[in-house]
Symmetry: C2
Subunit: 182 residues, 2 copies
DNA sequence: GCGACCATGTAATCTGTTACATGATTAC
DNA sequence: GTAATCATGTAACAGATTACATGGTCGC
């Protein structure tokens, strides 16, 4: 899914600035399953604008002059629908994970490094759960959005519980000091 | 995690060809958390070879001439360790998911399309579970590898159960024919 | 006044994906 | 003999990440 489609998706919910879109990816309803940085978002907005899929809202006196609020056009909504309905290039994206790659090679890392990795990851999971819980508190939430928030919550909770239950077992089976072992 | 590190990781377990590496990503122990295609693997192998991190095994009469079996060098093992231990650029990779993006916009899709999406996804999960179950049957499996296989199994099972339980609820809340709704 | 946050954008680089191009071996 | 699988690679293109560069507003 490219940055253009992601931006279109965010804008289909409500008008937003590039900055707002990034927040939606960082702390908002999209944060647990996709993302993009400024370097992807701004060029995407320019292209979408050129293609007439989004448009800049007329500036009003109460917003700063350099602030650009974009809204989706009917053509943009159509383009998003088409993209959503298309045969899907699939790709199994769940868990394309650097964390898992590292832990896979636990025998090549000192135990304190793995411990730090686990702690970081648990903290990250807790952050994501907080974000999702806040989303679920809102009363106006569409079915798809709710479904995905709950799915995220379920999966992150499962991951967290797995880490909590199995860390000791992993440590019991790896040597504390070993770093460069084959 | 770039293709070079991924290849190095695969080769740290046993010597392999580019083709073997791809299989490790498609059906092997790495399949549920990372991946790469030929277009990434072969250039990566060339670079790793140039840097002395891997080397081509001397050709023996029992293997075909154009087949190149690579093995990791001590320098390569060191490079992998360094990469594993480094402060981690983090990035929350769990669930960077096109599936979730689509379902999030369920209200913009006809119900039969969502149904198809769900069926595809469930089939994919079952495939992944089969692969993982086969991995877990092996008796010689390192602790990190076992941990990650079991974590994958746990998470995929949780995802599958979530889909099974909540599909009807989602469908009850979305209209069957609506496609292009705001 | 200062730090945190809002806000936009560009340019270089890196890297991955896709399609193409080729051919050997194995099992039926 | 023919289809599936093994096996290697290149080239063009699309795309993202990273760092850079700039400046306004708000609360303390």
């Amino acid at each position: 899914m490219d940055a253009k489609t992601l931006c279109l998706g965010v804008l289909s919910r409500e008008p937003a600035t590039g900055y707002d879109i990034r927040k939606a990816f960082q702390n908002g309803p999209f944060s647990h399953f996709c993302g993009a940085g400024f370097g992807s978002i701004y060029p995407a907005l320019r292209k979408l604008s050129e293609d007439g899929l989004i448009e800049e809202c007329p500036s009003s006196p109460d917003v700063r002059e350099n602030k650009k609020i974009f809204s989706i056009t009917p053509a943009g909504r159509k383009a998003l629908c088409d993209e959503l309905a298309n045969p899907a290039p699939l790709g199994f994206e769940i868990m394309r994970s650097e964390f898992m790659f590292r832990v896979f090679f636990a025998h090549m890392m000192p135990q304190d490094r793995i411990q730090a990795l686990f702690n970081e990851r648990k903290a990250l999971y807790h952050d994501k759960l907080d974000i999702i819980d806040n989303l679920l508190k809102k009363n106006s939430i569409l079915p798809g959005e709710k479904f995905i928030a709950e799915m995220g919550k379920t999966l992150i909770t499962a991951a967290l519980q797995f880490l909590e239950k199995n860390t000791e077992t992993l440590f019991a089976l790896t040597s504390p000091e070993i770093g460069q072992q084959p």
